[in-house]
């Protein structure tokens, strides 16, 4: 059995109305229980929870420190390619965007590595579009052989792959794969992904199952906020998380919170998610699941990031470039999205220290192997 079979038992509109009918009593129950289930999560992300935000934040703060201590993990993305055969209505790399396309050569990858290492990083996230012919398994294998000697922890955010492809990359150092469903609203998903392999909703939905079967160490989940009702999408993310935790119990999980950002050929968000709502969601995840890692990128503003690290976030990036070659080779090439927090890793580290947190640069070792 895979997640898509479970998913079929749920109806979007039904879930949405259940979330919107949660009461303050439901929220109070959820906050005061020692363990929370999906019903409680619905209450915590519902409009009824809005007046309880400070209480939720305090609880989330306490639970996060208990589990993760006074530390924040540091990672940085490296964009390997912006070639893409998909049309995604919200993405700067979309096939129909007339931008110069670039895939890093081996030499370029090496110079990006040098630049990133000089910033102090040891955990790296590799990102591409989806161009299976040029940026497929063989390209990834080459890239891993170049990158693995320099980093303790490698994450991948690329097109969904087959199980055997993940199994080939794990021994080369692949530790974590991020695969966001973008939206669990199937019809809306089709609208936003009209062309390319990504238009296959089910193949994407079952990617975490393939990863779990491949024995990956960590899987990152999430949706893109702005496409659909964030509360309903987040319920499905939590449902997915719970299913995966029970089935692939040796795997760790993380959640990310990308909100639509301006980019070339930009899409105006259909549903605006306010800062207050994003804080509510971060706290709701932590209260629902004390162990899941919560990650926040440089899409968000300085002030927002400085404050939410205390509320449940466990890993952040800094000094990020979202264009291939952005660090050393082609600083001016087109970005996937504009970053907001432009501070350097050293500035972010100083901000963390000032707030009583230790930035953690290394929390894995190559010696442990990927698998």
């Amino acid at each position: 059995m895979s997640f898509s079979e479970i998913f079929r038992n749920y109806n979007w509109d039904d879930i949405k109305s259940r979330i919107y009918s949660k009461t303050s009593q439901d929220v109070e129950n959820a906050i005061s229980k020692p363990q929370r289930n999906l019903e409680d999560f619905m209450a915590l992300i519902s409009p009824a929870a809005a007046p309880y935000l400070e209480q939720m934040a305090q609880l989330s703060h306490k639970l996060t420190q208990k589990r993760f201590g006074k530390t924040i993990q540091m990672y940085i993305p490296m964009y390997l390619s912006n070639e893409c055969q998909n049309i995604c209505t919200y993405c700067g790399f979309s096939l129909d965007n007339k931008i110069p396309r670039r895939t890093l050569t081996e030499k370029e990858i090496l110079s990006e590595i040098t630049h990133i290492k000089a910033m102090g990083y040891d955990h790296i996230l590799l990102v591409t579009g989806e161009a299976n012919k040029t940026v497929g398994l063989e390209y990834f294998k080459k890239a891993f052989r170049l990158i693995n000697p320099s980093f303790s922890h490698i994450s991948l955010e690329v097109q969904p792959l087959d199980q055997h492809e993940y199994e080939e990359l794990i021994p080369l150092g692949l530790n974590t794969v991020l695969v966001y469903q973008e939206t669990y609203h199937q019809e809306d998903y089709k609208k936003h992904h009209p062309k390319g392999k990504k238009s296959n909703f089910d193949y994407r939905l079952e990617t975490p199952d393939r990863l779990g079967r491949a024995g990956i160490h960590k899987i990152g989940l999430g949706v893109l906020f702005g496409l659909e009702d964030w509360r309903t999408d987040s319920f499905f993310t939590a449902l997915h998380l719970q299913y995966l935790e029970r089935k692939y119990w040796k795997t760790k999980y993380s959640i990310s919170f990308p909100r639509l950002r301006p980019h070339a050929g930009g899409l105006t968000p259909k549903v605006e998610m306010t800062d207050r709502e994003l804080v509510q969601l971060i706290c709701a995840y932590r209260i629902f699941n004390e162990e899941v890692e919560l990650s926040l990128s440089t899409r968000e503003s300085n002030k927002f990031r400085d404050n939410v690290i205390k509320l449940g976030i466990t890993s952040i990036s800094a000094g990020s470039k979202t264009n291939p070659g952005g660090y050393a080779n082609a600083p001016e090439s087109l970005e996937q999205f504009e970053i907001d927090d432009q501070r350097s890793p050293a500035q972010i580290a100083e901000m963390l220290t000032r707030q009583g947190y230790e930035p953690v640069w290394k929390d894995w070792d190559r010696a442990y192997g990927g698998g």
Binding site: Q65, K66, K70, T71, S152, W249, K250, K252, K362
Partner: protein, 255 residues
């Protein structure tokens, strides 16, 4: 004095190094705790760097290093990590932690036993982190471990000695030191563990995450000492409510 393997300890409080908000604070708190054995995850140590910050802060005669294998999922990975730790940190002491479940970090008894047998043969001083399972403790003892480290409750949970009935059996039966590890959330939990005869306790989260880790370290130091003294002085046993009459045996006097 407590002896494990080739070392003797004045302090029966062992400590962890995770979750502190700075290396400086970690060092001060660990000094204050009096701890002489501190564990650190190999994955946090940059063995290729001469100035790894965790090791730098712990470079002091008070601290003996106890590298741990946190992050490994099976015996094979644990043995590999152990060899790396021995080479990098120049100690054959090892806290063997195999918790394939990243959620509650509960130890895998099967893989732990397999790894402990092999590591003991390779000359490691093995301290395995395990569930409070008395039979497993005996098996590990036969495998040649230097001590056993049963949990009080899940790592980082601060829930105290949920496994106390089994800890008592382990302490009663063990021929190697018993170190209660994980879940100790308050000095009173540590004192309780010492009162029932644990040889030592290992504490991390409760110190590191408190608002004042240095003061909390001192509190744990005092609690561990008090609990040990009480154990050695032989605690008075609790007695059920007193009863003046003896309805079941008074007939004897009437015979």
């Amino acid at each position: 004095m407590l002896t494990i393997g080739d070392k003797t300890f004045n302090s029966r409080l062992f400590t962890g190094t995770g979750k502190f908000n700075s290396g400086e604070l970690m060092k001060s708190a660990l000094f204050e705790s009096g701890s002489e054995l501190v564990t650190m995850a190999l994955k946090r140590v940059d063995v290729n760097s001469d100035e790894d910050h965790i090791l730098g802060y712990l470079d002091h005669p008070q601290f003996n290093l106890l590298p741990n294998t946190s992050g490994v999922r099976n015996a094979k990975e644990a043995i590999f990590a152990a060899e790396l730790a021995r080479e990098a940190l120049e100690t054959n002491w090892l806290k063997l932690e195999i918790h394939p479940d990243p959620k509650y970090l509960l130890p895998d008894p099967v893989e732990t036993l397999v790894a402990a047998e092999q590591l003991a043969k390779k000359g490691f001083i093995v301290l395995p982190y395990i569930h409070a399972d008395p039979v497993l403790c005996k098996r590990l003892e036969e495998a040649g471990v230097a001590a056993v480290m049963p949990l009080g409750s899940p790592i980082g949970s601060n829930k105290g000695l949920k496994t106390i009935d089994f800890l008592e059996i382990i302490i009663e039966q063990s021929n190697v030191p018993v170190v209660v590890d994980a879940g100790i959330g308050a000095p009173s939990d540590a004192a309780k563990a010492m009162e029932i005869g644990a040889d030592a306790v290992l504490v991390n989260t409760a110190i590191a995450v408190s608002d004042n880790p240095i003061a909390m370290a001192r509190a744990f130091k005092m609690a561990v000492e008090a609990g040990r003294i009480a154990y050695e002085a032989k605690l008075a046993q609790p007695i059920g409510h007193a009863s003046a009459s003896s309805p079941l045996t008074s007939f004897i006097d009437e015979l």
